[in-house]
């Protein structure tokens, strides 16, 4: 982990009509770390992702990525600069195969190649890159299935593969293990840890605090669009405000069981 700040949000605000979804949010993510973003439902986590990715234009503030402002850039350009994401609600391209889904993501920077058919030789490198990504997430066997036929667990893997094939330097993951079984969660943890070793930076939204705690170097808590806590996971999770807003006081495991 270096000290380089790869992503910095400067006083970001976002409103939907009268609703303030984000209010003067500041945050910094250092290169190579895994940063967790937690908070109650509707706190603004997904909105924050969307602002970083350029889907929403913030009402105020600036997003800095690798020292440059990316505010106002269109989504695909931000993506090409190295921010890849997965979606809270999975978004496959259902009529394309798994491999094709990854291929388009992998070739999106090849502007000049837009007219070259995938089947030609020049595109072999892209194909290989896509297969590598699929092997990594454990989807190689499904490469030729239409994406629409996958179940949720595989779809989450597909989203990850699509993100990885873009060679991102920052990966935004929105509840990547929601709805996954334990085996899948384990695989996921292993993969993310591996990616971190390779130098990838991750910003992770997760309600499963077990997963978040196990992975994160740093944790941020959002509530009602405001940052209410930040720091080491263990400390953050013990924070009284966080417990009140997010974790709940008495664990259900206690009295009534």
């Amino acid at each position: 982990m270096s000290d380089e700040i790869i992503l910095r949000l400067d006083n970001i605000s976002k409103k939907f009509g009268g609703l303030v979804a984000l209010e003067n949010v500041n945050l910094e993510v250092r290169a190579g770390e895994i940063c967790g973003l937690i908070g109650p439902n509707g706190a603004g986590k997904t909105t924050l992702f969307n602002v970083v990715c350029g889907v929403y234009r913030p009402a105020g503030g600036t997003v800095w990525f690798k020292g440059e402002s990316v505010s106002g850039l269109p989504v695909h350009q931000i993506a090409r600069r190295g921010i890849a994401r997965t979606f809270q609600v999975v978004k496959p391209i259902p009529r394309l195969t798994v491999l094709e889904n990854v291929l388009i993501a992998g070739a999106s920077h090849l502007l000049a190649g837009a007219w070259i058919p995938f089947t030609t030789r020049g595109q072999r490198a892209v194909r290989e890159k896509a297969m590598t990504a699929l092997i990594r997430v454990g989807l190689a066997a499904e490469a030729n299935l239409p994406a629409g036929q996958l179940n949720l667990g595989y779809l989450r893997r597909l989203e990850l593969a699509r993100a990885l094939v873009m060679n991102p330097s920052l990966l935004l993951l929105d509840e990547p293990v929601a709805g996954l079984g334990y085996d899948a969660v384990e695989d996921f943890l292993t993969l993310i840890r591996e990616l971190r070793r390779e130098g990838l930076t991750v910003l992770l939204v997760e309600h499963n605090t077990g997963v978040a705690e196990a992975l994160c170097d740093h944790m941020l808590v959002l509530d009602h669009g405001k940052m209410i806590a930040a720091g080491e996971p263990a400390r953050v999770l013990a924070d009284q405000a966080v417990i009140e807003a997010y974790l709940g006081k008495d664990d259900f495991l206690g009295p009534s069981a």
């Binding site: 890849a84 394309l96 999106s108 920077h109 995938f118």
Partner: protein, 298 residues
């Protein structure tokens, strides 16, 4: 002979229009129920250049393509803002407004239309019906090649990604605006091309030739044949393009037959006769696939 050449030309123009709409509606998934507007813009541009400024067919053709594509680009930009049904209604509106402008603005011949358009010529040879039929089908062949290529290239995949999920496409680094606009530009440019040939073939055009019912027919060809399937769309164009002539023997019931075909095909082949997943398509490609089963893997 002349009669067949005329029929071939008319059907060729329909097929060209269907193919051009297919790029917008079939490949990029953008509803466009006002495609005849671009057909008309191409025809009028060509007609005006030819009759008012003495530009010959070939020159007028290029400008006609450019002008339709330009208006198409604007619609493409609008389509970034409007989704689905809103876009569909806007395209209907565009059709009505375009026709209205042709019909009322004096410069475009107003209610009188534009006559005296010169047929194409190369050197001293003026094109007759036969040559025009040849020309249109050469163009159709070129467009099919273009479309085939587009489907296989990354561009085609990008369009399909946009069609299914724009947000996901953008997140994958696809410049949604650029490719959507490009799809509109290509599709409308080709419609303009069809319009230009039409104008020089008919030698007389008026606003009514480009009305909403033409848009509906083009759309029906694409949907009936199968969105995104080149053979399907061509089939749709040929079947519906020939229908008025083929069913002339039951003159009084032609519209009835036309309407019934639409209803029945949509009811029993909702993805079109040769569209993805249609029963007919599966039947036809059944054996082919059996042989090449492994081909898709790697």
């Amino acid at each position: 002979m002349n009669y067949w050449a005329v029929l071939a030309t008319t059907v060729g123009i329909w097929v060209l229009l269907a193919l051009s709409l297919n790029i917008i509606t079939g490949e990029a998934g953008q509803p466009n129920i006002g495609h005849a507007a671009f057909f008309g813009i191409g025809a009028y541009t060509s007609a005006i250049l030819n009759t008012k400024y003495g530009v010959d067919f070939w020159g007028a053709l290029i400008v006609a393509i450019a002008v339709s594509a330009l208006v198409g680009a604007v619609l493409g930009l609008i389509s970034m803002r409007l989704r689905n049904d809103f876009l569909a209604i806007t395209t209907i509106g565009l059709n009505f407004v375009t026709v209205a402008v042709f019909q009322t603005v004096h410069y475009f011949g107003g209610a009188m239309g534009i006559g005296g358009i010169q047929p194409p010529r190369i050197g001293g040879l003026a094109f007759g019906t036969l040559e025009i039929a040849g020309l249109i089908w050469v163009v159709v062949a070129l467009v099919v090649i273009l479309n085939r290529h587009l489907q296989k290239a990354w561009f085609g995949y990008a369009l399909r990604a946009i069609r299914d999920d724009e947000a996901a496409a953008a997140a994958m680094g696809i410049d949604v605006r650029r490719y959507k606009v490009l799809a509109f530009v290509i599709g409308t440019g080709l419609a303009g091309l069809a319009g230009s040939i039409y104008a020089h073939f008919m030698t007389f055009i008026s606003a009514g030739d480009f009305g909403f019912n033409i848009s509906v027919t083009i759309l029906a060809m694409v949907v009936l044949g199968g969105r995104g399937s080149i053979p399907g769309v061509m089939l749709g164009g040929i079947v519906l393009g020939m229908a008025p002539e083929v069913f002339r023997f039951i003159s009084d019931y032609r519209l009835l037959v036309f309407g019934s075909i639409l209803v029945l095909v949509m009811r029993f082949f909702p993805s079109g006769l040769l569209g993805q997943g249609s029963r007919l398509q599966e039947l036809l490609t059944g054996f082919i696939r059996r042989e090449g089963a492994g081909a898709r893997v790697r």
